[in-house]
Amino acid sequence: MNSFKVFIVEDDPFYGEMLKYHISLNPDYVVEKFQTGKDFLNNLHRKPSVVSLDYSLPDMSGLEVLKKITAFNPDIPVIIVSGQEDVSTAVSLLKEGAYDYFVKNDETKDRIWNSLRKIREKIDLEKEIDSLKEEIGRKYIYGNIIKGNSPGIKRIFNLIEKAIQANITVSITGETGTGKDLVAKAIHYNSPKANLPFVAINVSAIPKELIESEMFGHEKGAFTGAVTRKIGKFEEAGKGTIFLDEIGEMDHYMQVKLLRVLQEKELNRVGGNDMVKVNARVIVATNRNLADEVKKGNFRQDLYYRLLGLNIDLPPLRDRGNDILLLAKYFMDEFSKENDMPKRSLSQAAQEKLMSYDFPGNVRELKAMMELAVVMANKDVIEDVDISLNAAVRSANFLMDEEDTLQGYTRKIIKHYLEKNDNNIIEVAKKLDIGKSTIYRMIKNREL
């Protein structure tokens, strides 16, 4: 942990020494004192955590020293400790960026003590925020959170990389549980906006009457209950990212409002007249097919095109082949680690059970399923009986959705096996006991 360095700039040796002793009563503080402005400025590069500055110095005024500190680093808090009781001097120093101003009297010691404590708490809090931001950054390195080797997921990595590099609106689509929110966070926390706010709003979770105020804020008295001004999520996001989840659930009135904000790049708080600039990057997500919703008249076409931007369509888990086993193993290991449990492995039967399941709840369902399996297993190896499926297995239903010809069924079976086996034609031919040339021919004829 870095020490908390307090530099005292005081021309009166007695008063300076007294302050030094007083502040040093806190063993966490490292205190140094300087009698002239010049001597102090020569040591400014050593980055004090805080400066206690006398206003009247023999070689320069406190104001001159304060300006030089601010020019060097405006984040260094400066407490002016002065014999000057002139209010205008205090005001001008505070305007120049002084953190606080104390007149030398009997209460000075207590005021300095409190002020240092507050500054220390603020610095500690800022450090904590920085470290949390770093942690979030590490957490959302997309390779760490979106696992998989399937061609489908590799394509997603490629799109995420493009979204990180360009400040473009991104629409994320995919079934429930495919990890749309994780992709949004991965884009933000790996982009140049990583240190700016990421503000998420779930459109479907907010009552219709509140959503406008929630998104755009409101002025005091805008409606019953608006007792103070409140800034909305767009303003909160600043120059960062706003993530509008479940955008497909937005009603027509809000669609119009949102479209105007996106076009004009400014907004009005509810009940307000002032225009507020909008600088946030927009990422939206939905599990609906927005193009279909446009056709049905449920979603405005102009808003659809404005929001579409770079589309990242997350594949359902059932189409990700061996990613199912890779993710299952990952979730088992993570859960075991978090709960101090021994690592488990999957029996062949358990693997087959997972591979033949549809996963209507996608990755979210797999995660819950594997955590339960770890808890239920009596041995280090998870058996198929330890895995509880929530829906019928795919092998029982994926072929029978609708009537088809024999050729159609054959095509479906081969396509299904190719998806499950990362398009490994040799492997699929072996498993289905057919010639690989059959598969090549079907691909060539665009039957697959």
Binding site: P13, F14, M18, Y21, L25, G83, K109
Partner: protein
């Protein structure tokens, strides 16, 4: 009781501020005895040269230390001469004021030297 017998300073505020650490108190007294006579001499020089700006500068500089050692008899005097406008306005009274400051501080120096002689 004359002024030489009456203690003209008090360590109460100093102890309250830096703690009851005899070593630290001794260091503080030494600092006071080392630097305050120099400031007093500079104050006297400024008065002789009628340099009211410097009178105010040294008055201002000394008042905090003097207040910290609770030399109350001259605390207010230093406070009223701590800016050039006031010293200019009080120029006829300055010799008396500064003489009294000299007298009191001389006694304080003697008392401190005596009390911290070991």
């Amino acid at each position: 009781m004359n002024s030489k017998d009456k203690k003209l300073y008090s360590l109460d505020y100093l102890i309250e501020t830096i703690g009851n650490d005899p070593e630290a108190i001794k260091v503080m007294v030494e600092v006071f005895l080392e630097y305050t006579p120099l400031d007093l001499a500079a104050l006297n020089k400024a008065l002789n040269e009628k340099d009211f700006k410097q009178v105010a500068a040294y008055g201002h500089k000394m008042k905090s230390s003097v207040a910290a050692l609770r030399v109350d008899e001259i605390g207010l005097m230093l406070k009223i001469i701590d800016n050039p406008e006031k010293t200019e306005a009080l120029k006829n009274n300055l010799p008396d004021i500064i003489q009294r400051i000299n007298e009191v501080l001389t006694v304080v120096f003697e008392q401190l030297n005596r009390d911290f002689s070991s």
